[in-house]
Symmetry: C2
Subunit: 363 residues, 2 copies
């Protein structure tokens, strides 16, 4: 039995499971990258070995997401929270306002951080119905003078997502896609910028990706800390400072794996099938309950509860025994959650459903 066969199914919200072939490839060259006698982790970011990794990773991401030429792609250190601060600093003049659609906790956090630097306006708040659905946005909701409209495309904690994105003309749409980037087809040209922390569908934590329309770079003339300055990062091709080299290397392996699997079209189909299996089962029983409205359900994070909440810890313990880990909901919302990102194979979802059925029967 290879060590890897002991692998279990990991449903963590993030840092999350990475594709098994990616992990195996990374393990195989961990100590000796391409016969260099060194790990890719140990080489200078200015050396040929790493520069090739960086270039290839950026090119693969551009290809996978069909990013138009008038958009920059860059890597930054740290995750989405960096952009919560960086977006107002880079895109808003002093005193200028941005619009926020609040569909969950991350959008709220992003708005609160922006508010420390600029005025903000809420154009939607799902609090009344406990964020169980997402709105249909359109130009009529955009406030006059709003420099951008901010959304969280997939709500990791609550298990909802925008089934489709608006084509706004009154202000650029900015989306936090941390928990669903690379999982579904998107038309980049509908967005002013998208960003994502790496730790769900891209690679290890401590890295984020930003895709931004070039004309938005340098829009504000404010004093921005260097590592949050999008224009400076773009100008220096993600190498203003020493980037998180190993995380970028891992991201390249993930992009290669995804391309080989058939790209976004192929993974989107697989993701929809996986999610459908789980939701279809949830819809057949009242033992488990999924609160999110069907049309707003996330394909990445399936959030549910037990009708009898007292059974939760028993459910989680039993799952762990079966090698199904990370099913606890986010500490801010409780309940249960199965994060089924790109790396989760169909078999993992099937194993989870089998366990859920068994648990229901026994209870």
């Amino acid at each position: 039995m290879s060590e890897f066969e002991r692998r279990i199914y990991n449903f963590y919200g993030g840092p999350a499971m990475l594709p098994t072939p990616v992990m195996e490839k990374a393990a195989s060259e961990f100590l000796n990258y391409r016969r260099s006698g060194m790990s890719i982790m140990e080489v200078s970011h200015r050396g040929k070995l790493f520069e090739k990794v960086l270039d290839e990773s950026l090119a693969l991401l551009r290809e996978l997401l069909s990013v138009p030429e008038n958009y920059e792609i860059m890597f930054l250190s740290a995750g989405a929270s960096l952009h919560f601060s960086a977006l107002p600093l880079n895109l808003l003049h002093e005193g200028e306002s941005a619009d926020f659609a609040i569909t969950g906790i991350w959008a709220k956090k992003a708005m609160e951080e922006a508010l420390r630097f600029n005025p903000v306006k809420k154009i939607y708040d799902g609090e009344d119905h406990k964020y169980t659905e997402v709105p249909e946005l359109d130009d009529s909701m955009v406030n006059p003078g709003a420099a951008y409209v901010y959304i969280t495309s997939n709500n990791t904690l609550l298990g909802s997502r925008y089934p489709k994105f608006p084509k706004l003309t009154k202000a650029p749409l900015i989306a936090d896609m941390t928990s669903e980037i690379l999982s579904r087809k998107i038309d980049i040209s509908q967005f002013g910028a998208i960003f994502a922390g790496a730790q769900k569908n891209i690679g290890p934590s401590g890295l984020s990706v930003l895709i931004i329309r070039k004309d938005l770079l340098g829009r504000s003339k404010r004093t921005i800390p260097v590592l949050m300055d999008y224009a400076l990062t773009a100008k220096n091709k993600s190498m203003y400072n020493t980037p998180p080299t190993y995380s970028i290397y891992m991201s390249k392996l993930v992009f290669e794996w995804l391309k080989e699997k058939g790209g976004i079209d192929a993974i989107e189909k697989i993701n929809e099938e996986k999610a459908k299996l789980l939701y279809d089962y949830l819809d057949t029983t009242s033992f488990y309950q999924a609160a999110v409205k069907p049309s707003s359900r996330s394909v990445m994070n399936v959030v549910f509860t037990l009708q009898d909440k007292n059974l939760e810890s028993k459910f989680l313990a039993g799952a762990e025994e079966k090698g199904l880990v990370g099913l606890e909901g986010h500490r801010l919302v409780g309940g249960l959650r199965a994060s089924i990102y790109n790396a989760m194979p169909r078999e993992g979802v099937v194993a989870l459903i089998d366990y859920m059925k068994e648990f229901e029967k026994k209870a």
Copy 2:
């Protein structure tokens, strides 16, 4: 022959060589961390597996550097450049000034970034003698009203360092120790704060460490981007957001290795021996030249030139053939540089000297 025997000697300035036993340990549990069936890279930062890693890493660092109780230790995403912006934002009131001793390019960069947010004063500038020595600082040089005095303790590019640190009473001393942290004994109580990017003596790039006197936290009441807010990071025990979990895991392995080796006392002795071997050889010949004044010489970065600069590329190519890589100087200064951080074994330095002698003879 194990794959690892093909390892070469890597003199990169950073990201740099990591200790061979650390790399082997990391490789051995890369796919399956402690029989969890997962990589430590793939688990939630809020789960027990990672929280233990984080706690242990912070505790080891406190132990290795004998950090007093009145200092916080924290991890932040990104390297030293983050602190170039974060220091003025966290420690200076609007309009308040800080003092800078310019002993090289990194101190200059830190000062220039601080200057974007606050007034700064230079209390020393080694430009006239091309930064070939570092000053002896004392209270008499500190400007009235300076909120802190900033130094770069070791100058990676130029190969100089402070042989000893001043005991200032007029303002706290803040030191960028990126390229020498954990390489020599220091008395933390002489400093208001020290920080270091991880990619030389700690672990992979994309992580930094900050050790700061608790009374300095929250000193400024400014609006600081969340990921740069030291007080917020401390309050959240380095987990305000998802930290770079794998890099923190690697840092723990490095700290364990260092402790096992005998801690800072032991490594300092080894480091001094390694550097002495190299400098002693450089002092016997005019074929190679080391510009830095002997009392200011770095123990981590040995910077030298060839008397005949035309031989540089031949020197580098010959070195690579011998498995000695990364000897080119920093792109901003040129010349040659052997970075001999904690991870570089004595044998690597001996192999380098052998090659240098041979090259000299043949030339």
